[in-house]
């Protein structure tokens, strides 16, 4: 598998394969298993794979071990390391799938892994929506506009979800060789879009869209941030907060109850109605 040398959704940000990634950062804070950070730098060390360091929101240096599984390298770059670059730039890295409605409204579906964000987004795409980004969604706030940025044009979907939605996986690349999860190309949007709504999935029993008000809006954005513990250690709390405040001002924020409990078409219809 060919590894990327550019970071999707961050134009100009580079991935460099080198032999000079440090083994430790001085004066850093441990923010996860094998992950430490300080202002301007985040270092991730993964056994049998290698070391990755995100630098100043501009680049990721990678030192791979011999025999490192390329699929895992790709996942680390697209997840924790891309989120680190976004945080280093003072922007929001939402754990989300962003889709664009036929009307042009751009919606970020947020929530924890396993709640069915991608499946729901794929169901919306079947209804004529377009994919913007899946996994870690970069959101910026500049000139009074909150923008979500495009990803690599694919969505990660399990075989079960593809079967449910009647999506063919023929020719799709596997996320890992050992599991039936695919990078599925989707009709997409390739330019940044003004973000109009943030909808967080929640696993209550009934399908219901609940509006979020006041300080809970910022709390929801914080809860929806990918690897949020990185932000403070990178010294970017104030910058990321300013971005979140801008996003909260410019978008409608709500919770969609019923994730994983209700039929995906019912959930999709609920979102369609809300956006209309």
């Amino acid at each position: 598998m060919e590894l990327p040398n550019q970071v999707p959704s961050i134009p100009g940000a580079l991935i460099r394969f080198t032999e000079n990634v440090p083994t430790k950062l001085s004066d850093s804070v441990r923010v996860g298993v094998g992950v430490e950070a300080k202002p301007g730098m985040l270092l991730l060390t993964m056994p049998r794979i290698g070391r990755f360091v995100a630098l100043q929101g501009q680049s990721v240096d990678v030192q791979l071990r011999s025999g490192a599984e390329p699929e895992l390298v790709r996942l680390i770059l697209a997840g924790t390391m891309r989120a680190a670059l976004i945080h280093q730039r003072g922007e929001l890295a939402l754990e989300a799938t962003a889709v664009v409605a036929p009307s042009g409204a751009c919606v970020a579906l947020c929530g924890h892994s396993g709640l069915g964000k991608s499946t729901l987004a794929a169901a919306l795409v079947r209804l004529g929506w377009k994919l913007l980004s899946d996994g870690v969604v970069r959101v910026t706030y500049e000139g009074g506009v909150a923008r979500a940025w495009p990803g690599d044009g694919t969505m990660k979907l399990w075989r079960n979800a593809c079967d449910l939605l009647g999506i063919s996986t023929t020719g799709c690349r596997l996320v890992r060789k050992q599991i039936e999860k695919f990078y599925v190309p989707m009709p997409g949007v390739e330019t940044p879009e003004a973000l109009t709504a943030v909808i967080r999935l929640s696993p209550e029993a009934a399908c219901r869209l609940v509006s979020v008000d006041g300080d809970n809006r910022l709390l929801l954005l914080s809860d929806s941030t990918y690897r949020v513990a990185q932000v403070e250690a990178l010294g970017m709390t104030n910058s990321c907060l300013r971005t979140a405040q801008g996003v909260a001002k410019q978008t409608t924020i709500s919770i969609l109850e019923g994730a994983r409990k209700c039929d995906v078409s019912e959930l999709a219809a609920s979102i369609g109605k809300a956006v209309a």
């Binding site: 441990r30 680390i76 997840g79 396993g114 079960n160 999860k181």
Partner: protein
């Protein structure tokens, strides 16, 4: 700051939730009963997956089961190091090591283990209700090697668990392991909850009086839990299960498990049942000492 785990371990449907609720009430010295939905979260159920994804270098949904297990000890250690006080952790896994040779729960992060057992006849009936499966399927699961859902087509929620068979689960926790384990039978707790919970609570380091235990037992009466679940639901209930708190009565297998299924359960688990004085006719004898 750092915290310590108290593992409340058991095969499913053996009194785990009741015991954790009593411990939580005692540890918090709560004046009003603690809600079933307000127990310490973070290290079991969906909370475990959220915790894993917050701390691991790659989300669980992109990892293989063996990789998830290899990261879990470090995830638990990181979580313990960030916390304070004692954290009660629901555990249904066998006591086991990851493929990397590490105990799933790092022994230096574990203060004590309360291990609960229940007559497998009652477990079978309750577990079938919980899983929304037939008794035949459930008895087969209890005698099988493992209940780890296939990861081929979707990652099981919240994360794969290694239950082992009923016997393997009990054997693993009563074997030679690097934890301080106190065994309690559900039937003994049910028959006389205050002294049973008092003994268990002291074994995990809670310095409480019998009066305090009595208050906690009253706060967690089965009918109260059923009522709360009916009104507010219970977040640990699987979506397919009609209710989490079903009967709670020892001997509730009667009239439900036929001769063939009882014989099969006894055939599968005779050695461990005899060790715990769980008889083939469904009755429970005195627990030989020492055990566990």
């Amino acid at each position: 700051m750092t915290s310590k785990f108290c593992l409340v371990a058991s095969y499913p449907k053996s009194g785990n939730t009741w015991t954790r609720l009593v411990f939580e009430n005692l540890a918090r010295g709560s004046v009003t009963p603690i809600s079933i939905n307000n127990m310490t979260g973070g290290v079991h159920g969906f909370g475990r997956r959220i915790l894993f994804d917050a701390l691991a270098p790659v989300n669980a949904s992109d990892l293989l089961e063996s990789e998830i297990e290899s990261f879990l000890p470090a995830v638990f250690r990181h979580f313990a190091e960030q916390g304070t006080g004692q954290i009660f952790v629901k555990v249904h896994d066998c006591a086991h090591r990851s493929a990397m040779g590490e105990w799933l729960y790092p022994p230096d992060c574990v203060n004590a283990v309360a291990y609960l057992v229940r007559h497998p006849f009652d477990v079978a009936v309750s577990f079938a209700h919980h899983l929304s499966m037939t008794l035949e399927e459930t008895v087969q699961i209890m005698g099988g090697a493992d209940l780890v859902s296939s990861q081929i087509r979707a990652l099981p929620l919240p994360l794969p668990q290694h239950l082992g068979s009923w016997s393997e689960n009990v054997r693993s926790w009563l074997g030679s392991i690097p934890y301080r384990v106190t065994l309690a039978r559900y039937e003994d707790i049910h028959a006389d909850p205050v002294p049973a919970f008092h003994r268990l609570a002291r074994s995990i380091g809670l310095q409480v009086t019998p009066t305090e235990v009595e208050t906690a037992v009253e706060a967690t009466r089965f009918d109260r839990l059923q009522k709360e679940e009916a009104v507010a639901g219970f977040r640990e209930k699987p979506p397919s299960s009609p209710s989490f708190f079903r009967s709670g009565q020892p001997g509730s297998w009667e009239g439900k498990l036929d001769d063939a299924l009882r014989a099969r359960l006894f055939g599968d688990h005779a050695a461990m049942m005899e060790r715990l004085s769980y008889r083939a006719d469904g009755t429970v004898g005195p627990l030989p000492q020492p055990c566990g």
